[in-house]
Amino acid sequence: MPDKKPISSVNDFVVRFANVNGSGSASANEMFARAILRHGVPVSPRNIFPSNIQGLPTWYEVRVTEDGHLGARGGVDMMVAMNPQTWDKDVAGIEPGGYLFYDSTKPMPSTKFRDDITVIGVPLTAITNSTYTDPRQRQLFKNIIYLGSLSALLDMDPKLIEQLIGEQYKGKEKLLSSNVHALHLGRDWALQNLKCPIGLRVKKSDKVGDRIFIEGNSAAALGAVYGGATVCAWYPITPSSSVAEAFTAHCKKYRHDPETGKAKYAIVQGEDELASIGIVIGASWNGARAFTATSGPGISLMTEFIGLSYFAEIPAVIMNIQRAGPSTGMPTRTQQCDIIACAYASHGDTKHVLLFPEDPAEAFEFAAAAFDLAERLQTTIFLMLDLDIGMNHRLCRPLKWDDARQYDRGKVMTEEMLEEGRDFGRYLDVDGDGIPYRTYPGTHPTKGSYFTRGTSRDRYARYSEEGPVYADNMQRLVRKFETAQDLVPRPLQANAERPTKYGVIYFGSTSPAMDEAIGLLEARGHQLDRLRIRAFPFHSSVASFLAEHDFVYVVEQNRDSQLRQLIVNENGIDPVRLVPIVHYDGSPITARFIAKAIGDHQDHLKVTPLRKAVS
C-alpha cells in the first residue's frame, strides 16, 4: 500500500504512455483514446515525440476530461512505462498517489519505484513470448495486450474496443481476430491477477455529443479541398507534411472526374521550399487557387518570394505549422514562434495577413477562407497552425459547409470588361480600397496584358524608379492592408462575470488552456475579460479592448512575446500595459501554467481578489 492515498477519479485523469519510437505503439495508444471517446467521455490526446525515426523515446498522453478541457493539464496520474531508457524520468513525473503500469516480466529493484504511488505490474513480455513466436508480432501485440489490461484496470467496456478494432481491420479478418485475442489476453490476465478496477475509472457519459475527432492538419487540408485549391506544391517538413499528404488523400477521393478518371488538381512535391512557393505564385498568377504547407525553416526559405507576392500582388496561401525555433530548433515540439517572421516576412516594408485558428474546425474554415482572402486581397495569406493543433487529434464541432457558397475570385477583369472599354491599370486603385484589378494571362488579344515584376512600377505596371510613383504604390498597399482588417475573421471577446480593469489576449492553440485557466483564476478571485485574436491585421476592436483595460496579459507560446510585439507595433500602445505571459519549452501550454503566471502577477500588483473583498 503506498504511503499516499491513491488518486481516485472518474472520467478526469491523465494517462501517459512512454514508448520507444518505432515500436508500433501509436496505433494501440490512439485506440485507447478513441475507446474512451466511445464511452461518451471527452479526451484530449497529445503526441510527444522525438525528431527521429526509431529508437528514441516517445510519449502519448491522454487527458480524460468529462468537463471537456481540451488543453494540456500537466502532471500524470497514470504512467504506462514501456521504455527502460526513460524509466526514472517517467516514474518521477507521476503525481503523488498516482499509478505506475509496467512490464513485470523481469524483476526490478525496489529503488526503481516510489512509495507514494501504486505500482501495477503485468508480465507483458512473458505473455507475448508464450503466445507468439514471430518477433514483430511479439512487439506489436504487446501493445494491444497492455491496452487490454488497462481496459480492466480502468473499468472500460471491452466491447467498445472490439468495435474499434473491427472498424480498423474491416475486411481483414485475420488481423481483426488476432487483435481481439491479444486484447483479451491482457484483459483476462489483469482481471485474474490484479485488483480491478483501480481508483481511476472510465464511466459511460454523454459529453462528447456530435463532436468529431480530427487532426488540425487533416482539417486544414480538407479546407483546401472545399476552398477550391487546385495546385499544391510542398516540400516535406515536420510538422507540416501531413497537410499535403492529407490533401493528396482527399483529392484522390473527391476530385477525380467520374467520366475520365482525370484529376481536377495538381500536386507537386517540390525540390525545396523555394520551388514550392514559386509554383504556388506561378499558379496563382495564372488564376488557379494554390497553396503550400511548411514550417518555420521553410518560411525562412520562402521569404524572398513572399516579398514578391506582397509587392507584385499575387495571391498565395501558406499553411505554416509552427514548431520550436530558431534554426532547426526542436522540430517535433510545438510553439507559436513565427508571428513576427510571417507578419513582416521578406526585406523592405511588408505586412502580411495571418489567420490563427484555435482548433481543427477553425483550421478547416480558415483554410477555405484563406483562398477567398488571397484572391480578394491579391497577397499572401498565412494560415498559422502549430504542431499542437496540426499533429494531434482534437475534439471539435463538426465541419460545416454552405452549398450556396461561391468562391470569391476577387477583382479580375475579364475579356468582356476589357471589350467594354474599362480602363485597365494593373495597379490602379479603382474603388479606393487599395485593391487593383488583375487579368489572367491569355485574356484578350490586345488589351489587359501587363508585365509582372518585383521592381517598382507605376499604376499601369510600367517600370518606374520615380520616387513619387514608388511612394504612391506603397501607400496603396497600406490602404489595402487596412481593407483587410474588415475581411479577416474578427476577434472574439468574452467578458468576466464582473466588471474588471484587467484583460487577457491569446490566440490559436492556447485557446483550450486559456478557457480552463479562466475558471482557475476566477476560483482565486481574479476576473479577466478575454479577447481571442483570430487574424492579423488587427481589427479595430483590439484597440478598443486595449483602451478599456488598465493591464492586458498577452498569453503566447514563444520566448519574446511576439504577438505582444506586434500589438505594440501596430497599435502604438504603451508596452507597460501589455504583460507578457510566455511559455516556450516546446510542450503545449497548460491551464495550470497560465493561471499561476497571471495569478502571481495579479498578486504582485497587490490586486485584492474580489472573493476576499466580498467576504
Binding site: T230, R255, G261, K262, A266, W285, G287, D403, R405
Partner: protein, 351 residues
Amino acid sequence: MTYIAKPKFHHPGLKKNELGYTHRDYEGKISTLCAGCGHDSITASIIEACYELSIEPHRVAKISGIGCSSKTPDYFLGNSHGFNSVHGRMPSVLTGANLANRDLIYLGVSGDGDSASIGFGQFAHSIRRGVNMTYIVENNGVYGLTKGQFSATADRGSKSKKGVTNTDNAIDLVAIALQLGATFVARSFSGDKTQLVPLIAAAIRHKGASFIDVISPCIAFNNHAGSTKSFDYVREHNDAVNRLDVLVGRDPIAVDYAPGTVQMVEQHDGSKIALRKIDADYDPHDRLGAQTFLAKHAAKGQIVTGLLYVDPDAEDLHEHLNTVETPLNTLEADALCPGSAVLDKINASLR
C-alpha cells in the same frame, strides 16, 4: 525594361502571317540592353519564330528570372503577360503557371547566372518533371548587370575583362539537360538566326520540356581576347551538327537548306521537324549518343550546335499527373467542392 515606348506606327504593307499578324505584333518594348548584345538577336529570333508559327501573341506566357537575359521578355510579344520573377526561380513560377492553365504556351527565358548558379536546382527539376515549356538560356558566361564577374558556365582558363583567369570548371547546361531527361535539347548561337529561329519554333511545338542553350556573347564584358564566349571565339569553334526546318501542318517555313541527308522528326502534336545532317552519323533520337557526341566535341574545345536530341513521343507534367484537359484555373466550386452532404459523411467517420 525601358522607359521608352516603341512607336506604334508601322508600314501598312508589312507582310502578315496566316493569322493576319505582322512582325510588329510580336515585338515588345525597345531594348535597353547594350547595343550589339547577343540577347537582342535572340529576342529577334523569338519574334521571328512566333511570327512564323502564327502564334496568337496573347496566348504566350513569358517568364524570366533576374539578369540581362531576364529583362528580354519585355522586348518581345508586347501583348503577352510577362513575369520577371526572382533570381533563378523562373522554372518554378513557370511550372505553377503551366499547372494552372495548360492551354497557353510557356516561354521561359533565363541566363547562365540565373540558371547555372542560384537557379541550377530549379532548372534541373523543371526539366526532370517534363514541364511543357521552351526554356531558353541566353548564355554569355558572365554577369553583365553587375559588371563582369564569371558565371558558372564560363570555361576554365578563360579570362575576364579585368584579366582574371577562371579556375572553376564550367557547367554544361546542355549535357545536364540531356542527363535529366529533357525531351528536346538544342544549342545554338545568337548570331546564327538561320539555325536559331527554327530551333525555337520546333521547341515551342514540342510537347514536353524543351531546352535551348544559346551562346550569346556579352558585348560589354565577355567579348575580348581570352574569352571563350566572344563572337570571334564562337565563330571559330562552332560545329553545327545539323540544320532544321519546322513544318506545322501547313506550308513549310522557307529556310535555306541544301539537298542532302534529311530526317523528318514527327512531333507529338503532328508537326514535323526536318533535320538536315551535316554529320552523317548523328542520330537526334539517341540520348546516349548525344551525350557522347557532346562530350567528345567539348574535349576538343568545340561548340556543338543544332538539335541534339528530341523524343517525338514525349509526355509532359500534366500527363504525368493525369490532370483534366480543362485548365485548372477555370474550375469553380461546382467542379471542385465535394459539398455539405459529403462533409456530413466525413464528420460521421470521425466519431
